[in-house]
Structures are given as structure tokens and as C-alpha cells.
Amino acid sequence: MGLFYHIGKYFLLLFRVFAKPEKFKIYYRETIKEIDKLGLNSIWIVAVISVFMGAVITIQTAYNTDNPMYPKYLIGLTARDTLLLEFSSTIIALILAGKIGSNIASEIGTMRITEQIDALEIMGVNSASYLILPRIIASVIFTPFLTLMSMIIGIFGGWVAGVSTGVMTTQDYVYGIQYAFIPYYIVYALIKIAIFAFLITTISAYHGYYTSGGSLEVGKSSTKAVVHSSIFILLFNVILTQLLLS
């Protein structure tokens, strides 16, 4: 069935997700649980990737600008802007699509095929809202912190790599990362990651929620969740960049 069928069904699901919660206390507790599972558990991977990407960007820029014509501070400036503009939001979002997207789709998908979702419905619980809303809130709240952390760690990684390989001095780098700094880039990145987080959780939850069949289908849903989230992240990256930076 076509793309429009899925988009329509996706919005109908969102409609149910944003219904008034039955009991705030329970939703609050679920949200805290999800922050732990989706957010805190992602700190490690984000930190590791950021430090290495910061390092690589710095070394590559250094070798590409290895010419007396270019000032050394260009290295720090490039590392900073690459991290702020693209890496810490878009690339991190793609990584998270793989990590939390597959987690959400397989968890909700398993609940579907083992009739746990039916069990919720039969108790009179709005299963869509109960299962999806806490995940949306948790990831939209927490991912901006991951992005900020990624920026800081990435810039730190760049400094370590640059200084230890001797392609630049600490002064060059510190001067570079402060040169022509536009604070709005950070806001831009935070808006992007929040929207990407919304896309990842809702698209993955959609695929999980409408899983039917057995464990094979859970695997398929999980794959679809990652692929579709990634595509929509890239698409929205273009749209948001046009809207926010032009």
C-alpha cells in the first residue's frame, strides 16, 4: 500500500498518542524510565563517536590546509562549525535512529505480537498514548543534551588529536574555535535534534505498533523503523536548514 496510506495512518496514530493521559503520575514514571533507557544509555556511544569524529575532522582539515596561505586557526574554526552545524545534530540523530529507533520498534512490536497491547486495550488503557507519549517526551527532552555534550566532546577530541599529532598548537585551536562564532548555530542544532528525535520515536513507534505476525515481523519492523527514520532525518535536515539558516 502506498505512502499516503501510511502517512494517513501515522497521523491517526499521533492523534491517539496526544489524547489526554489517564493518570499523570503513571505517565511521569514511564517518562523517567524512558529517559534512563533511551537517553542515559546513549551517552556512551555519543561520547565515543564524538571524540573520534572531532579528532578526524581536525586532522583532515589540517592536512587539507597544509599550506602557508591558510591561517592555522582555520582548523579549529572548521572543526567547530562542522560539529555545530551538522555532526552533533544530524549524524548523532542517524546514530540514535539505529540505537533507539530499533529499540522502540522491537519493544512495541513484541508487545503487539504477544498481545500485551490487546491486554492494555482491554483494561481500558489508551495503549498508543501510554506506550508512545513517554518515549516521545523522553527523547525530545533528552537528545538536546546529547547534542550539547557531543559538541563539547567533539571539540575536545579535535584538540587532543591536533595537538598530539603536532598539526597545530593549543593557541591556534582555541583562537579558531572562538573566531567568528555564531551562537545561533547552537540553537539551530538543538532545534534540529529535537525534531529529529520526534521523528525517530514516532516513526519507530508506528512501525512497532502496527506489527502483525511473529518474531520475524518484529525484526522487519525494527529494520523499517531505522531505514525510514534515517530517510526522514535527511529529508528534514534539508527542509530545516533552508528554514532556519536562510
Binding site: K23, I26, E115, Q116, A119, E121, I122, G124, V125
Partner: protein, 253 residues
């Protein structure tokens, strides 16, 4: 009492339920029997509203359930307990938390009151000393019993069980059947049980409805089931060598 009036359901144009009319009585265990794939689960889920039906009515003690609006339906569901084919316990919660779940969601009891009620239900189904275990850590029969405990936590008026004893040894299966029967009488519930187990029919079949290919083919009690002239029903009942032997022995006298 639950009345089902002329309901039908199809998936992608393929009819699965065909104009079913049946009455399920209060305080009795009503059984739906039939081959695998005959439509038992779909019938049960259509009655409780997990599937939307295409025509007909489902009436719970005078209330036309399938025509209620979303909110009233939700209210009504608090009076419904259901046991799913696989138990459907929440994996991420302990046994005790599973039974407490409906209480958390729908009552204003204090934590200790809720825990007491949960333990009362667990004791009722003979689960003791397993409160802190997770569903993955208990046996299939225990899962079914915990699921029953969860289903009765809110004192429902209607209980639905989808194959409560599939995958269990005969002894445990009978235990579960008896439990369902006892609870039904004790709380005066309207209970509907899906099964393809002839033992269950003999144990607890106050009323038996035989579904064949999505249609109601026969109904009666466990006492008249063996005397029925219905060809498909006989095929279903006497599928096993054991039941054939019993019939032959009976006929000899």
C-alpha cells in the same frame, strides 16, 4: 449475560465470522470450541471490541457495547477481564506489578492496599512466593495463572479466556479450568472460554458453542454433545483415537 446478534467480520474481503447469533449466560462457563483457524479468537476479540465488527450487535447485560462511544466503551472495559492465548503479561514488570497494574491505572487505593489486593488475587490462583519474579522466569502454567489473577484484580463482571490451557500438561490444564469455573461461580461472572480441548468441554462446559469455518454450527451442553448428530461436530469430537474408543465402548452397552 452477553448476547451476540448476527455479527460478521472479514479480513481483506475474506469472511472469518459469518452471521453468528449466540447467548452467553451469567454465572456459567460458556465454551467456544472449534478447530484451529475456525475463528474462535476473532469471535472473542470481536465480542470485547478488539476487532470492529461489520454488522450486528454485542449486548452486555442490556448495553449495546459495540455502539458505545469511545469513552463509554473504555468505562465498560474496566468490567472486563481477559486472559490471552499467550498470557500477555507485561515483560518489563514483575508478577506482582503485573497484577497491580490495573489497580494503579484505575483505582485510588494506596500502595499497600493495592499490594494486598494483588496478593489476594495471586493467592486465589495459588501463586505464592513468586511476586518478585519476572514473566520470563516463571513457567507457562504459572503465567496463565498470573494472567488470571491480573484479569480478576478489578472484580470484573465478564471474563474472557482464549485457550487458557493450551500448551499445558493435562493435570495443570484441569487445574486452570477448575479455577476459571470456581471464580465464575464465586463472582457470578459471565465467562466465555475458547478451547479446542475436549477435556475442558467435559470439565466445565456449562454451555458449548461449536464454531465451524466462522459459523455457529451447533450449541448445547456437555451432556448432549456426545449425542449430537452433527457431522462436523462429531468429526471434531472424535478426532482422537481415545475418544473413538470411548464412543465404541459406550455403544457396546
Amino acid at each position: 449475560m452477553i448476547e451476540v446478534k448476527n455479527i460478521a467480520k472479514s479480513f481483506n474481503g475474506v469472511p472469518v465470522l459469518k452471521n453468528i447469533d449466540v447467548l452467553f449466560e451469567k454465572g456459567k462457563t460458556n465454551l467456544i470450541i472449534g478447530q484451529s483457524g475456525s475463528g474462535k479468537t476473532v469471535l472473542l476479540k470481536s465480542i470485547v471490541g478488539l476487532h470492529d465488527i461489520e454488522q450486528g450487535k454485542v449486548i452486555f447485560d442490556g448495553t449495546v457495547f459495540n455502539e458505545l462511544n469511545f469513552k463509554d466503551k473504555k468505562e465498560m472495559r474496566k468490567q472486563i477481564g481477559m486472559l490471552f492465548q499467550g498470557g500477555a503479561l507485561f515483560d518489563s514488570a514483575t508478577v506482582e506489578e503485573n497484577v497491580m497494574y490495573p489497580l494503579n491505572m484505575f483505582t485510588e487505593l494506596t500502595y499497600s492496599e493495592k499490594r494486598d489486593r494483588a496478593n489476594e488475587c495471586l493467592k486465589r490462583v495459588n501463586i505464592i512466593n513468586a511476586n518478585q519474579l519476572y514473566p520470563a522466569e516463571i513457567s507457562g502454567g504459572m503465567k496463565k495463572r498470573v494472567a488470571i489473577a491480573r484479569a480478576i484484580a478489578l472484580n470484573p463482571r465478564y471474563l474472557f479466556c482464549d485457550e487458557p490451557n493450551s500448551g499445558l500438561d493435562p493435570q495443570t490444564a484441569i487445574l486452570i479450568d477448575d479455577l476459571i469455573k470456581e471464580i465464575t461461580v464465586e463472582y457470578n461472572m459471565t465467562t466465555i472460554v475458547n478451547t479446542h480441548d475436549m477435556n475442558s468441554v467435559m470439565e466445565i462446559g456449562d454451555k458449548v458453542v461449536f464454531i465451524y469455518n466462522g459459523a455457529k454450527w451447533w450449541e448445547g451442553t456437555r451432556d448432549d454433545i456426545f449425542d449430537s448428530e452433527n457431522e462436523e461436530l462429531n468429526k471434531f469430537i472424535f478426532a482422537s483415537k481415545l475418544s473413538q474408543k470411548i464412543r465404541d465402548l459406550k455403544n457396546r452397552h
